[in-house]
Symmetry: C2
């Protein structure tokens, strides 16, 4: 298949925002690592062998065969009303003060990022993010020509002292973006005192917080921490979550929680962006949630992913050379490895792929300056056996690289 | 349900683009007109009684139960490869030179509009549209702060002489947007010579054309005309179409056809916007298309909608007062009514709704100056009996308004 090409006609330039955008390096890597013979820690995929496929097949069949006239029709921009009610109750159970009127169903959490940028960010506006931060959030905000102010992070998540310094020095910061639970890529979790302090800082400096929480339900050990949004009495936090990790991602059904003033803006933006989230998946998700024990399914996932996380941590301890550090996630899907600073993970990747193991180099997860000695490892999408083998192999690749460096 | 409200904390401004956006007046109207006792010509809904619900229920059940690990998983930004192949063949059958690599599956055509604006439009850039044009295109482009240059249209669609004048006077126009077949709202179709001429003008002035073709399959009479894209040898036309009108809208599965240079930009934009279109609907659509006679279904729709269109046209001729003009669509879902210039359709609407008939006032379909004496009527979503009754009632509402004006 060759795509037809263009003629010599001189056409107008593309937009500045897209001319500045890079094709995702990670996306290109993922194409290579999809081959089954490669043990890939590169993607961010939930384990398909645990998808509730039979239940979802039943759910889709039921809603389309009994209620097709509504389930297949255009729908409201805000989302399917019974699903919004269900989500609002779920939010209340987490201590978040939300009614259905605060819930906007989105086409995946990625759309939540896009819509929030659309209603908030003028070209050049400042967004505060961690070092590292979620790659696709960088992409979403970059397309609205945001400037990033970055703050340090450690094993307890965002360094709030550094955040305060940046807020003081940059009074025009408009938004703080973070993943407080089991961050992507680092796997770290923001401690309770830091959550309180960050909210207080946002309030003091008049800045909104975007709390992106795709993994909150996937805690394998340690103490449950309240969402920042549950501490928010001033309506300054916008909260995102999704069914991608607890049911399945291919549905593209996620949601945001927001106070009325910004909510109405987000609805206008969503209407202009895709009219509404696909109706049939919303109906099927609601049917699944109300006719199955969704919490039992999540409990099962916690068991599976928790075991995979444990095996990866043990394998790292067993095989990885000294001088390498990694995070110890209490949940989620990722951990974050720091190699000695003279090593470059992008340069390491071809050797790893030759040895049939893959990871994502850490550089694209930094919004501004990009250190080269980090890698992100996903543990949700490989069996414990393959995780151990893959980590052992990766350790050998790193050791060989060190030998070459020493030579 | 009351949504929680905000505190006195002073938060940053919203973006300029969203501050300038209006909530859609049409959207508010549609909420009122959803009541079953109202004969609504206001919406743009396909007839749900003709949805292939049984076939789609089977399709969803089949793809999720037999291939859930893929159908429910994250997928590629470009779209499900077999579906893109199917679409490419369909495009070729229309004379459009496209391979699967030229097809980007989008979350509804609305997303096609959003993505194209995202990759093309800087704030203040000029987009040429008809008077009237598709309301949701105005909304999509407005959120990228486009300036609209409007050109006249008549019963044969866009006035290309006027278009040439505008292109000559505005050499910085970046994009021509139009619905060439059975336009929304006007129902008119761009003639063949005008298609050729418009393409030649776009080539001469170095401007892209966005050809939005949601209704092309729904022709009830008259001669089939080739898409402008099928005449395009220079890759300057981006073509949008959708399964919303030929299968069902709630799937949110549509596509665009573009040449490689802009295609790669659109993929980057889509990745940042929603990662990819929902996987399960793409699998189900492909299963439906390859296991059912989709063309026979479209033939059935043509029969049903053609009859409804004919009944509306006959009822208009029978009941509407002299001095009122309307278009005579050869396909699609809408026609366009011009009342005497002293009448205001927004002011007429409450009386119409009291009489249990609804329409959409024409003003929001104009990008710049907004004449008040037009209305859009949808004929796809009411039975012939209700269409006749509704038009008769609407004629009485207009006549009474004229009487009040005369008094």
């Amino acid at each position: 298949m060759t795509a037809f090409n263009v003629s010599p006609i001189r056409l107008p330039n593309f937009s500045r925002r897209i001319d500045a955008a890079e094709s995702s390096a990670v996306r290109e890597i993922l194409k290579v690592t999809e081959k089954p013979e490669i043990i890939s820690f590169a993607g961010g995929l939930p384990a398909p062998e645990f998808f509730p496929s039979a239940q979802m097949a039943e759910a889709f069949h039921h809603v389309v065969s009994t209620d097709g006239a509504r389930a297949l029709q255009y729908s409201t921009t805000e989302g399917h009303a019974p699903l919004r009610e269900w989500i609002a109750q779920r939010m209340q159970a987490k201590g978040i003060r939300a009614e259905a009127d605060n819930i906007l169903v989105t086409s995946g959490s990625q759309q939540g990022l896009d819509l929030l940028a659309k209603v908030l960010i003028n070209a050049g506006d400042k967004v505060l993010v961690e070092r590292p931060t979620y790659l696709a959030a960088i992409q979403a905000f970059s397309l609205y020509e945001a400037n990033f102010i970055t703050v340090a992070s450690d094993d307890e998540g965002m360094d709030v002292d550094d955040a305060e310094r940046q807020l003081r020095e940059n009074p025009d910061i408009k938004l703080i973006y973070l993943v407080a639970n089991f961050q992507n890529p680092s796997g770290t979790t923001l401690g309770f005192e830091r959550r309180q302090r960050l909210l207080q800082l946002a309030s003091q400096y008049g800045v909104r917080i975007l709390e992106d929480d795709p993994y909150g339900e996937l805690r394998y050990r340690g103490e449950l921490l309240p969402p920042i949004k549950s501490l928010d009495e001033d309506g300054i936090v916008i909260y995102l979550s999704t069914f991608s990790k607890t049911i399945t991602p291919g549905l593209r059904v996620a949601w945001l929680v927001a106070e009325p003033k910004i909510y109405s803006k987000l609805v206008i933006a969503k209407q202009a962006t895709d009219l509404h989230t696909n109706t049939v998946s919303q109906f099927a998700v609601h049917h699944y949630l109300t006719n199955n024990d969704a919490d039992q399914h999540i409990t099962k996932l916690r068991g599976v992913y928790g075991e995979r996380c444990r095996v990866m941590l043990e394998s790292l301890a067993q095989y990885f050379p000294t001088g390498v550090r990694w995070t110890k996630p209490e949940g989620g899907m990722f951990l974050w490895v720091e190699l000695p600073s003279h090593l470059n993970t992008s340069q390491l990747l071809p050797a790893a792929i030759s040895a049939k193991v893959a990871f994502v180099p850490g550089a694209p997860f930094f919004a501004n300056e990009r250190p080269q000695n980090f890698m992100r490892l996903n543990f949700s999408n490989q069996t414990p056996e393959r995780i151990e083998l893959g980590i052992k192999t990766l350790a050998e690749v790193i050791a060989q690289s060190e030998l070459r460096n020493a030579a």
